[in-house]
């Protein structure tokens, strides 16, 4: 059985596959544990990225706040 790569699954979940390919991929995901696990990993990556973005934003804000206080 051919498995989908993470890149292909990104195309699938981001609606960048043709309709036909998407139908085939959805059918495959229903039956293939490896690919459905890979898809779940991508979803977990999204959560990780949310945390990362939030951390960057919070650290940037605290820096800006400090600079603003200094300027005042």
């Amino acid at each position: 059985m051919k498995h989908y790569s993470k890149e292909e699954l990104e195309l699938y979940r981001n609606h960048q596959m043709s309709v036909l390919k998407r139908i085939v991929c959805a059918g495959h995901l229903n039956e293939c544990r490896i690919c459905s696990r890979r898809l779940k990993e991508l979803e977990a990556d999204d959560l990780f990225l949310n945390e990362l973005r939030s951390s960057i934003r919070i650290f940037q804000e605290v820096q800006k706040k400090k600079e603003h206080i200094r300027e005042c």
Binding site: E7, E8, L11, D45, L49, L52, K66
Partner: protein
């Protein structure tokens, strides 16, 4: 600050090497400020917290001679690994000074004049610390990542995964395929997780 400096700092702390004031100050100042905010310190108290933590760590009477942002590089700190983990050492120092500052303010005010916000209880503070430390690690890991992957890989990751730019725009801008942008994202996430695991051991 150069990204390489951040990387070397983290390694040097663990190795017990000398760390310059500036490296340490730039890297840990945001973490100290966030901890101060968690303890409901005012902006002025938070400034004082940073100064006091830095003074205790560097054990030098530098404040009288320098602006905190302009301390020369020969002022160094050396962490003794036999003290245990650096994160616990730092946590204790920040917490002690934050509590002192909080109590100092409350000693000066009568109960009727108490301001908004309360210093968190020990358990809350521990939880907050873990959150702030994790944020700190994520930021540090990102700096390390930048030194470890190809520049175009990092830019693709930054634009697509961090700045949420449309994948097609990123691919076009960087003259790469959409699939290559996704590969860059996967690669960077995997590397970041490894870096974080490595940092957590320190």
């Amino acid at each position: 600050m150069a990204f390489t400096t951040k990387k070397s700092l983290l390694r040097k702390v663990r190795a017990g090497d000398e760390i310059s004031w500036n490296e340490f100050y730039q890297t840990y100042k945001p973490l100290i400020l966030l901890c101060g905010l968690d303890c409901s310190l005012t902006a002025t108290e938070n400034e004082e917290l940073v100064q006091q933590v830095m003074m205790e760590i560097f054990q030098k009477d530098i404040l009288k001679n320098y602006d905190l942002d302009k301390v020369p590089d020969h002022i160094v700190f050396q962490f003794d690994p036999s003290r245990g983990r650096f994160r616990h050492y730092l946590k204790k120092i920040i917490r002690n000074h934050a509590i002192k500052l909080y109590h100092k303010r409350h000693d000066m005010l009568s109960l009727g004049e108490m301001e908004e916000g309360e210093a968190p209880a020990v358990d809350d503070w521990d939880n907050q610390w873990e959150k702030e430390w994790k944020r700190h690690l994520l930021n540090m890991a990102l700096f390390e990542l930048k030194t470890e992957v190809q520049p175009e890989t990092f830019v693709a990751f930054e634009m697509y995964a961090l700045q949420h730019k449309p994948v097609k725009d990123v691919a076009e801008f960087l003259h790469m395929s959409v699939s290559a942008v996704y590969t860059a994202k996967s690669r960077c996430i995997a590397d970041l997780k490894k870096i974080i695991a490595n940092l957590e051991e320190r």
